[in-house]
Symmetry: C2
Subunit: 227 residues, 2 copies
DNA sequence: CGATTGACGACTGTCGACAGCTTGAGCAGT
DNA sequence: ACTGCTCAAGCTGTCGACAGTCGTCAATCG
């Protein structure tokens, strides 16, 4: 979805399920910081702007609420999620919890196809990292970690990660706006591959702990400096 | 601060909300097996039966979908979630992931008040277990594990557990309908307390692994025999 | 001058209605 | 008897409208 089309709001709503389109629009607008954190969103105004009725707007907003991008107050409406340092730390702690579980499970039995797929994704990520397109780098990074979780074979775990990924995408994007990400991030995924290949569970745990720890420090420090 | 006053008052006031009432009704109906697994639910018919319009029914159904009690297909509507053995195993695997994380974290630093609160909850659970009220026993059991997660201090982790708890409640209730739960279950929570009190991380991990493993075996075996 | 109250405006919660899609029954043809 | 088609009924997706509620701000009172 080209970022330019978001500006022409009414034209953008033309193709699929209205709810999904509105949800995509809202997601992009929040990620792109076109709504300020904590800002109140009016259903009627959004509906007017997008040229649809309130029903799909309301339903899309509930969807984003379940994804943690919006919060609602009864009879007051929806507000853009404002993340403080503590919530951010909680998000990365949960992320560590999920990925550590996947890593430890894969340490025991990681199918060679899964490892190969992860290796390919790291290559894609490194290439995206060199392209200078920050948004693409973030997506490929998330895609790698999603693949890691998916390789563990637990669909419910994957669903939980996908839920969390929306919040991750939000805070990572916000930070990247003001802080350059170090180039070493993409490369550091090789350490995860090495740990998986070794089949050593404690090493896998150590690798993912370090990896997520670095990312967490990077984001939490960025937030603390900004606000 | 008496937890009862604030909790019940707020709940009572928000209960005026039609969406929440419909959600409660649907939840109880699904848990109580008044809808068959996989059964299609018609928005119009539910609205007629409950004497409300489709809007709150639709919104409540989306809420239950996000909780994993319903699934939706575009232009086809909502269906009662039917759990197979694999999904059940996935649910308990995720539960282990979350609780293991909380236990390992608490092993390092478990405030004495938190440990005391957990101890009290185990007593409540044992008493409920002896009362013969299966529904109450399940709720007190879930309450203990919720308290365990909450003690770790990560709100995002707690939210994830709360989401999962609806699915847990569903499958545990279904199993309990046909299979008597062994009395030892309530008592076995003491092992978790002992592990926490010891402050030994590997012991904590071992304790929760065993505890969730027993519960998982109990439920998965029940499902396999039933279907 | 500060606190209180009451009216105004905006918004959410809820409702009934309509169009297009899905489904299943019934009919025609083989 | 079986397969394919038609069509009617029911359903979801979406819409516009109304009523009750909340925040705001000015007028009033201590």
């Amino acid at each position: 979805m080209p970022a330019s089309s978001i500006g022409t709001t009414a034209a953008f709503i033309q193709q699929r399920n209205l709810v999904d389109q509105v949800a995509d629009y809202l997601t992009q607008a929040i990620i792109g910081q076109r709504f300020a954190p904590g800002e109140r969103l009016s259903e009627v105004q959004l509906a007017r702007d997008l040229g649809v009725s309130r029903a799909p707007v309301r339903e899309a907003a509930r969807l984003l609420e379940s994804r943690g991008l919006l919060v609602s107050q009864p009879r007051r409406g929806f507000f853009v999620r404002a993340l403080d340092a503590r919530e951010l730390a909680d998000i990365f702690d949960l992320r560590l919890c999920l990925e550590r579980h996947a890593m430890e499970q894969l340490a025991g039995s990681c199918p060679s196809e899964a490892l190969a797929a992860l290796r390919r994704q790291v290559e894609v990520l490194c290439e995206a990292s060199g392209s200078g397109d920050e948004s693409r780098r973030i997506e490929e990074d998330l895609a790698f970690h999603r693949l890691l979780i998916a390789s563990a074979g637990n669909r419910r775990l994957l669903r939980t990660f996908d839920d969390l990924a929306h919040e991750l995408r939000l805070c990572i994007t916000l930070i990247t706006k003001t802080h350059e990400a170090p180039d070493s991030i993409a490369e550091s995924h090789h350490l995860l591959l090495d740990a998986l290949a070794s089949g050593d569970a404690p090493l896998c745990r150590e690798a993912i702990d370090y990896h997520i720890g670095v990312a967490k420090d990077y984001v939490v420090r960025g937030i603390s400096e900004n606000c």
